[in-house]
């Protein structure tokens, strides 16, 4: 980095507490193996990621619905050069899949060799708990 004369700035550590109270059911349901979306009770629009407020009709009356697990992969990438907080991970594949309900999900895709991954292929969306105990969702190989 700096080869020219410089002084170090004061060091700070930044960790934000991100509120999830309005979408808590989503994060809790992942632990039960379910991936939930929200649906506006007034206009019927389906949202993934889930939201508490409808950007279509501005109502704030949502119901939780469980998503199907069948996804069609629309695009993907394999991330080799990773950011600081993902340095401990091995290179990972990220994909965007469309579910039959019409919403799309962006998540990691696991269980495939990179050469097997194609646009238009089927994958299964699952909820799981990481070895560190964090609830998450990802695409895997369908049975």
């Amino acid at each position: 980095m700096a080869t020219m004369p410089s002084i170090k700035s004061r060091e700070i550590k930044i960790v934000q507490d991100i509120p999830i109270s309005k979408t808590l059911q989503f994060w809790e349901s992942l632990k039960q193996g379910k991936v939930l979306a929200t649906k506006c009770k007034r206009c019927g629009k389906l949202y993934f990621p889930p939201v508490a407020d409808c950007s279509e009709c501005l109502a704030s009356d949502m119901e939780w619905v469980e998503l199907s697990d069948e996804a069609t992969i629309e695009t993907f990438t394999h991330v080799v050069v990773r950011p600081t907080t993902f340095q401990p991970e091995k290179p990972y594949t990220v994909a965007i899949g469309r579910l039959k309900e019409g919403v799309r999900v962006l998540a990691w895709l696991t269980g495939f060799k990179l050469s097997e991954v194609k646009v238009g292929m089927k994958a299964k969306l699952v909820a799981k708990i990481t070895p560190e105990g964090k609830p998450i969702y990802e695409f895997i190989r369908p049975e």
């Binding site: 980095m1 700096a2 080869t3 020219m4 410089s6 700035s9 991100i18 993934f48 990621p49 629309e74 695009t75 993907f76 990438t77 394999h78 991330v79 080799v80 050069v81 990773r82 950011p83 600081t84 907080t85 993902f86 340095q87 991970e89 990972y92 990220v94 965007i96 919403v103 799309r104 999900v105 962006l106 998540a107 990691w108 990179l114 194609k118 646009v119 238009g120 964090k134 998450i136």
Partner: protein, 396 residues
């Protein structure tokens, strides 16, 4: 009333641009000065005559230490007292600042305004830079659990474009080869080495299918643009004013998962159509364009999105050499973001700098001066992965 018809005429009367690259020899204010000083000298005015200043910068407090770069730079450049704002539109912050300065003059509220793009990106390490920029999008839903980087976001577009239109990795490489060629003729460019297709194909994978040479460098740099009303242009006897003919803008969803598709940027389509409408021109009247080539795939999509060719024909336009000097529409003959460099909040102003020089037929090196027929030029500047888009049309 037509879009933009209420605006008063506004001209660019001065431009300046610093050397791009790793600029650890200067701090943010000193870097701003390098671009600002030549722009006021070019305009033939003093800093005190500038009534309003819009600054484009994105990394304040994150990848460089100053949280208020606008005030720090304004003080350093003798602009204290002027109306002041910092504009954020990610990698289109420079264009957001340019538009804001344009509106200040076009509305009739001020006679002279400045747009300053300033970015210092090389004071932190590369993985931390990847982290900061990866967070720009929707942190909660796309970065927090999935670690998308910026190359990865654009790689999602590259994969889809290749699958749908048969665009190849060699096609992507041609963008880099072309832009490095022109950067090698541009003394202020960050990367000045000429490369061949094999250099790109054999470079390390960053986010497949994008490789190192498909990506723009992480650069420091500043650019400055001085704008004035028609009355001021007459009063100052500016000999070659460059007029702002059209400004278009649009935005896209924060979540990539909510975009219409992954083969183009809808914000680019919308912004360019608005700019053409305001300027009352069609794409075939352009003499030269600069487009947002942060990654090679982005330049190919830009050709299609702003109407230089049909959708899916971007790679063909490139292969035929139509976007080189001598072709139908030369693109990024300053080296583009890909090789001139992409100090992200600066880029929009640096694009205006380049087009102003081109329209005045003052390109730094004659070898990359585009022959002018209609004296009309276009700048296309994307923020994020199509989160923001600004398109500016200039006319001499």
């Amino acid at each position: 009333m037509q879009y933009g018809d209420v605006m008063k005429k506004v001209a660019i009367i001065g431009v300046g641009c610093s050397k791009f690259g790793v600029r650890n020899d200067v701090n943010v204010a000193e870097l701003a000065f390098e671009a600002f000083k030549p722009s006021v000298e070019d305009a033939g005015i003093t800093p005190k005559e500038i009534e309003f200043v819009a600054v484009g910068s994105t990394g304040a407090g994150a990848w460089y230490e100053e949280l208020l770069p606008a005030v720090v730079s304004a003080e350093y450049c003798g602009l204290t007292g002027a109306g002041l704002i910092r504009c954020e539109a990610a990698c289109a912050s420079g264009s957001a600042a340019f538009s804001t300065a344009y509106w200040a003059v076009a509305s009739g509220q001020v006679e002279i305004a400045a747009a300053l793009g300033i970015e210092k990106m090389r004071e932190i390490d590369t993985p931390t830079m990847m982290e900061w920029i990866g967070r720009a999008g929707y942190y909660l839903w796309e970065f927090h659990n999935f670690g998308l980087t910026f190359p990865a976001y654009y790689a999602l577009y590259a994969t889809a474009h290749m699958a749908k239109y048969g665009t190849t990795e060699e096609d992507l490489a041609l963008v880099a080869v072309k832009n490095h060629k022109y950067a090698s003729m541009n003394p202020i460019a960050h990367l000045q080495n000429r490369i061949i297709v094999d250099d790109v194909l054999s470079s390390m994978v960053i986010a497949a299918p994008l490789k190192l040479f498909d990506c723009c460098p992480v650069s420091d740099g500043a650019a400055s643009v001085i704008l004035a009303s028609e009355d001021k242009v007459k009063e100052l006897k500016v000999d070659t004013p460059v007029w702002v003919a059209g400004v278009g803008f649009a935005s896209g969803t924060a979540n990539m998962s909510k975009r219409l598709d992954y083969v183009g940027l809808e914000a680019s389509v919308q912004a360019s159509q608005k700019a053409y409408k305001m300027a009352k021109i069609t794409p075939d009247q352009l003499d030269v364009a600069v487009v947002h080539d942060c990654f090679t795939i982005a330049e190919i999509m830009a050709y299609e999105d702003i109407g230089l060719c049909e959708k899916g024909e971007g790679a063909k336009l490139l292969r035929e050499g139509q976007t080189e000097i001598g072709g139908k529409i030369p693109v990024n003959v300053d080296g583009g973001l890909k090789a001139k460099g992409h100090p992200i909040g600066t880029t929009g102003c640096a694009m205006i700098y380049e087009l102003t020089k081109q329209l005045r037929e003052e390109a730094i090196e004659k070898s990359r001066q585009v022959p002018m027929k209609n004296y009309i030029a276009l700048a296309h500047n994307v923020g994020g992965t199509g989160h923001y888009c600004y398109v500016t049309i200039l006319r001499r």
